[in-house]
């Protein structure tokens, strides 16, 4: 069962406190860019080197993470399991968290890091997310129905940013 209340800032703070290298993508990234389209999970792409995956495992332990398609506690994420290009659909004490080894047919952390921007949510809570043009590119390449639905809004936002409309 998911927790009664979600706490995204707490989730991100735990990841940052454990010095996990990750990039926020997907719906939450879109909303941080100004999209009005809701989403039900936080999507992140972590760096998949050994040290980072150990830090990620420690953060996930603190967040009581489990694979949400299985009963709580049945299967727990660990560094070895997380070292894949696949998607890990987790529930945590702070909300649903998807950990994506790669996106859009093989794009990983190292491919995305040059197309990111840092956002300060509050003092000492600074996250890295993909830029709006990269988010649009990922949505176009992934090309599922829900990605296509998000595109009109994201393109409007990009147009506003380019025209410097507040």
């Amino acid at each position: 069962m998911p927790p009664d209340t979600f706490d995204y800032p707490a989730m991100l703070r735990v990841l940052l406190n454990h010095q996990v290298e990750f990039i926020v993508i997907g719906g939450v990234c879109a909303m941080l860019h100004g999209s009005s389209m809701g989403t039900v999970v936080v999507d992140i792409v972590p760096a998949r080197h050994e040290e980072n995956l150990k830090r990620l495992q420690a953060a996930l332990t603190e967040l009581h993470a489990y694979y949400r398609e299985h009963p709580p506690g049945r299967i727990l994420p660990n560094a070895e399991r997380l070292n894949t290009t696949g998607h890990h659909l987790l529930m945590t004490s702070a909300g649903a968290l998807d950990i994506l080894g790669t996106v859009a047919g093989g794009i990983g952390y190292n491919d995305l890091i040059d197309s990111t921007v840092d956002v300060e949510l509050e003092p000492n809570l600074r996250i890295t997310m993909v830029t709006l043009p990269m988010l649009i590119q990922l949505k176009q390449e992934t090309n599922r129905a829900k990605d296509r639905l998000a595109l009109p809004i994201l393109r409007q936002l990009l147009q506003r940013a380019q025209n410097d409309i507040p």
């Binding site: 209340t5 809701g38 999970v41 949510l121 809004i153 409007q156």
Partner: protein, 68 residues
């Protein structure tokens, strides 16, 4: 990648984007936007895990014809 038909459909949908909602989102701080995302997700998960009669009443409410 998008095919021609999908691209045309998205371009058509761009004209129908509710810009007042974008204005509202853009008026918020990044933390406030994150909290909007959090509240949306919380409500969606709560509904998904709600007893069936609650979900049915929500379905009925969302599909009800507006009164004239």
């Amino acid at each position: 990648m998008l095919n021609k038909e999908q691209e045309a459909e998205i371009q058509e949908m761009e004209k129908e984007v509710d810009t007042t909602l974008l204005d509202w989102m853009l008026s918020l701080t990044p933390m406030q936007r994150l909290k909007v995302a959090e509240r949306y997700a919380e409500a969606a998960w709560r509904l998904q895990n709600a007893p069936r009669h609650v979900r049915l009443s929500c379905d009925a409410a969302s599909s009800a014809e507006p009164s004239s």
